[in-house]
Symmetry: C2
Subunit: 312 residues, 2 copies
Amino acid sequence: MSYLGIDLGGTNIKGGVVNGAGEIVREASRPTHVEQGPDAIADGIAALVRELEQGETFEGVGLGCPGTVDDETGEVLCAFNLNLIHYDLRAAIRERTGYVIRLGNDANVAALAEAKVGVGRGAHSVVVLTLGTGVGCGVVLEGKMLTGYTGAASELGHMVIREDGYPCTCGRKGCFEAYSSATALIRMTKEEMERSPDSAMHAVAKENGGVDGRTAFTAKERGDAAGAAVVAEYVKYLASGVTNVINIFFPEIIAFSGGVANQGEALLVPLREEVAKQDFGRKYVKKFTRLVNCTLGYQSGIIGAALLAQDQ
Amino acid sequence: MSYLGIDLGGTNIKGGVVNGAGEIVREASRPTHVEQGPDAIADGIAALVRELEQGETFEGVGLGCPGTVDDETGEVLCAFNLNLIHYDLRAAIRERTGYVIRLGNDANVAALAEAKVGVGRGAHSVVVLTLGTGVGCGVVLEGKMLTGYTGAASELGHMVIREDGYPCTCGRKGCFEAYSSATALIRMTKEEMERSPDSAMHAVAKENGGVDGRTAFTAKERGDAAGAAVVAEYVKYLASGVTNVINIFFPEIIAFSGGVANQGEALLVPLREEVAKQDFGRKYVKKFTRLVNCTLGYQSGIIGAALLAQDQ
């Protein structure tokens, strides 16, 4: 009883054979070659399927893809960094391999993996927030991915938290993503560095070959006030979005991944304090949302896709 | 096969016997008498149950209550306007009537009714927003009320849409409710009336005995620019929260009720236009969220409570 999970990214296609316990038993990877077009991507996926088959027949194949997918029709509706617009990926893979794949958004299937076999195992409900270039998000309620009427739900990164605020890539202004992604943290860091020429952040950036999502945290650790101010500003906005998520879903767990989450407790401790101040619901309920980090790393994309295939 | 639905409010306790088709076959109401304390409220509910029984035994009894309830334990965790804090309402009603009631938040059960037998009948998913003193909200996903890990989920009114914005009753600043409730509309109307002494809103307010949620809409209808500006400001914020709801849940239907929703298409037409501008997901998905008004009126609270009891 093994399932194949595929994590389709802009650079690589990763695949893994996943057993009934949700563990990867063997895996492989190959370049995506976006520049060769949609059919070449499908060819690459099919080659990966054959490479991992090794004489075995999978019970099911699932695929996680960036952007918006429709698991009803099997279409990738839009995945800009893959150049896929209204592409019938299910048909393309069926033609090439015979498998009828299940299709999920990559952040959603990663959340499914964390909810079922990662940090959220056994939990009532899990929201995963990936603090990277953008803010990726997946919501799993009582074991079920939230995909909405269209397949495009769970886009918490595109919840406006500051009306008329900083422009977001989506066209709106003031989205959660525009304040809580690693990109936003780097912007806040650079702004504060301009205001504070004496800040230790300048030295930290020099040591690391430039400003990144760690600069302000490292400077703060060294006792730098300007670094601490950047972390506080970032945490304030993150806490605002996280408190929204609590008020909307009141999940058992909110789990973080992505670059900024690598700060671990240096991020989570001030975040929990700030959320505790904002969260009006805590006073009377006896159960609270736990804020923790994800545990599956890059494997969540593969495992989640395989779990999606299992859920047929 | 009939179920009893009870809508417990700060002024009245309304009850209705609901048949298998989700219709009220008979109903009754009595004053809540909050000032006499929790046990008197339970006495009132029990008396209503007996009044409506008329020799019949109900298959189940459900109750919708403001505030935060825990349907697992049967407790009302907090309902300020009823003075109920950690009150075991299920035990109190069982002692008095023998019925083991199901318990839901009033906005959530109202949404359940709209989703199952009201405007959302047959829809994949429904979010109800009640634009009244506050912004009440209920979310029904594939027939199931979203209540979260704690029973306190679906509080979309307390999603911050304007960081550091107008203070909300919940203690945070800039909540959706602080910009999209009837209370917020009245605040915006009064502010604009101060800025615009020549606005028709002054005459409209005089005719109706004061400023209310209709003042700006009526003035706009009469061609008043200041009234139109208030409506536009209100709709902008409402659209911001509604677009968030679409990005989060992408429901098939968002349905409005409450005082401001009585404006009907005078509200919905500009709202749909504003949401269309903000909603980045529309370009590639083929299905859209419909914005409409609720159809069940006050009956939604009673019917929803009965439907909750049915779902055992």
